[in-house]
């Protein structure tokens, strides 16, 4: 029990529970099945990105390019499949998008490893390169008619139910992809040596090398995997929106990183859990969703999200070091 109390995730879950109950009392529409399904759907894309960011942050790096990779992969995939008039399964689209994402991620990995540059600089630069390349050479027009497979995927739901109003609700199938990714990332981080190598790298790179990790290989995995996840996330986004807009996604980087930090990951590396990241994303989605339900102007979403992030990190800092240190640190 004492161990549980010492954990960031526990506090996050408490905040989330209190918030859900409070909003539910204020507006019963919040706790309906339809809205809960909607929350799950809304957290899917952000959550997929967040899993990638979690891995990078844990390793002591940072990746700003994942949104650009997501946009690139989904737009190129959609255009390509339309060009060949592809009528087959959506999984081909996913495969294609994830391979494109992987390739772009490996581009980051090579730059980081060969040029030995800070990850922030590399990904800041590559984000701009990917986006510029996409808009200059692939196109700027929004694709409104997606390939048939993608449309079918976006309509696919689980736990379908027809309401009295005649409206059909269900849990978007993409949420299953998110769950699979959660399990996979959690497994890699907890039960593989590669995953432990990511923590080791984030904790003390020099010692990680001394203890026998091949840091180059670990970094190639990290940035390649982030690219791959971003490709998947991008495609899910396109399916959810039922269009492929090359201007989408870019601009969401900071809120995803913020959600992961909210989930307890350390911005300087070495700490972070999948549960925390997932809760962090869900908390932000709940706040945004509830503000809409409560009729608060959407600009306030940004204020509320930022406030929650600062408050949460502050609570952790104070709990960890005692109030005195938190108070002394600004001096």
């Amino acid at each position: 029990m004492r161990k549980l109390l010492g954990q960031h995730e526990f506090y996050l879950a408490m905040i989330l529970t209190v918030l859900v109950i409070a909003i539910g009392l204020a507006n019963p529409a919040f706790l309906t099945r339809a809205n809960l399904f909607d929350l799950c759907k809304s957290s899917t894309v952000m959550g997929l990105f967040a899993l990638g960011v979690l891995i990078v942050l844990t390793s002591g790096g940072i990746d700003i390019s994942f949104a650009a990779i997501g946009a690139f992969s989904m737009y190129v995939t959609s255009r390509l499949l339309l060009a060949v008039d592809f009528q087959g399964s959506v999984w081909v689209a996913f495969l294609l998008a994830s391979l494109i994402g992987l390739a772009l991620g490996l581009f980051n990995a090579v730059s980081i490893n060969v040029l030995r540059l800070p990850t922030l600089i590399v990904t800041l630069g590559s984000a701009s390169v990917f986006r510029g390349f996409l808009l200059a050479f692939i196109g700027t027009s929004i694709v409104n008619r997606l390939p048939a497979g993608m449309i079918a995927f976006s309509r696919r739901t689980l736990f379908e139910q027809t309401l009295a109003t005649g409206e059909t609700i269900g849990l978007s199938f993409s949420f299953v992809l998110y769950l699979l990714a959660i399990v996979a990332v959690a497994f890699v981080l907890r039960y593989t040596l590669l995953g432990r190598g990511i923590y080791a790298l984030g904790g003390n790179a020099e010692a990680a090398e001394r203890v026998g990790f091949n840091l180059r290989r670990v970094q190639f995995f990290i940035y390649g995997f982030v690219g791959l996840l971003s490709g998947v996330a991008g495609l899910v986004h396109a399916c959810t929106m039922r269009n492929a807009n090359p201007f989408d996604l870019v601009g969401t980087e900071l809120s995803v990183i913020a959600a992961v930090v909210l989930g307890g990951a350390s911005i300087t590396g070495g700490r972070g859990t999948v549960l925390g990241a997932v809760l962090g994303v869900f908390l932000i989605v709940v706040i945004n969703n509830s503000l809409i339900l409560l009729g608060i102007p959407s600009y306030w979403q940004k204020v509320a999200t930022g406030g929650v992030i600062i408050a949460s990190v502050a609570i952790t800092a104070i709990r960890k070091d005692g109030v005195r240190h938190a108070a002394a640190s600004w001096r």
């Binding site: 593989t192 040596l193 432990r196 904790g203 010692a207």
Partner: protein, 496 residues
Amino acid sequence: MKPVVAAQGISKHFGGVQALRDVSLSLHPGQVRSLVGENGSGKSTLIKILAGVYQPDSGTIHLDGVPCQHLHARQAVRAGVQVIYQDFSLFANLTVAENLALNTQIQSCRRFVNWRQVRRIATEALAKVGHEIDLDKSVADLTVAQKQLVAIAKALLHDARVIVMDEPTTALTKREVAALFRVIDDLRAKGLSILFVSHKLQEVREISDTITVLRSGRKVAEGDASQFSRDDLVFHMTGRRVETGTPPSRPGASQVLFEVRNLTRRNAFEQICFEVQRGEILGITGLLGSGRAELALALFGLEPVDSGTIRLEGRDIRLGNVSEAVIAGLAYVPEDRTLEGLFPPQSIERNMAIAGLGSFANRFGWLRPGQLRATVDRWMKDLSIRAPAQQTAVENLSGGNQQKVVLGKWLAAHTKLLILNGPTVGVDIGAKVDVHERIRSLVEQGLGVILISDDLPELLSLSRRVLLMSRGRIVKELTCESLDHDALAAELAELE
């Protein structure tokens, strides 16, 4: 008995610097050898050559009598050579268990982590050092002593036959040092060979069977520990007989400079009262955790205070406010100078000018570079800071010279009372004597100094009055008559 590791005629240079010149060293099973020398004497280079991290220019390393032309790190590990570096090479973010087991897991070429096995390996490893540490605690939450035990246990896991410990007692309390020595004794009894690298001569003489002294990359002395006195070691390390010096005599008419009345902070210190005379060096000592560090920070306004007053030259100083303390004429030289006292990449000039910038500016706030340079020049000469130029980055200076820059910074700021917290921690003996000399000449000019230190010879050579702190209180005041090394050591031992 055959040595496990023997280095013969090792030389190594970096650029134009000859780090080691024809050094030989052998490590025998069941023996503790100490390697002593000042900073830059080549100790760390030699360790790294033994560990296969550096390749020597000439000379050979024999492992179990077999010469190795190019010793690689992996070879050294396989032969049982383990180095415990000062940073311990541990992962603060991982648990004790994982820190211990990680290497074994990697070497067995596994892909997946077997957490049950991790715990088993860790339990076994800790049993070897005979201590219990919560396996699930993250290393960041351990004390330094515990981290060290984990590092030793980790070394033993790799069937270590030789353990090199680089300055292992730096951040340990006396009790923890004693515990470490028991572990070392135990390892020695098991037939391991230990290379104990340290500059704490008292400890070196206590633990070693044999001692090797390096100076400027050469081996200048070697022999049984019993044949060296402390002064001998100092002589071999520095190449000169160092006079420890005596505290400056008290000025004739005593004049109170600084008064502390009933200073209290909950859980740190209680009812602290003392005075410092003009021209006096007041020593304060106590064990780690006695509240002396907190007191030093509180006097300088870096930590809040619950109640009490401090007065300089009869005027009250507002507590808990650094800038007011500085303006009033207080200065604080921290223990960890690179972290708290300096801007390492910046020049000597900028580092020295920073605390008294206002006095180098004209009325519009523009700096007068000529005056600044002249002042810094004067202080560099006064403090005998050895550096190529004012523009030299402070990070390129030796520890002793860095400490003098910190002193200079406060002198430039017209300081009246100097609070020194461990002023010569990690400073060479030669430079230490130099720093002491500077401190003495400062008080001759009428400064007051509060010297917080656990270096007994340092206290004795500077202070005529020493306050003893324990559990946040001043428990004893020792003056001149009752002040000598044995008395002070006895008092401290009683507090343990």
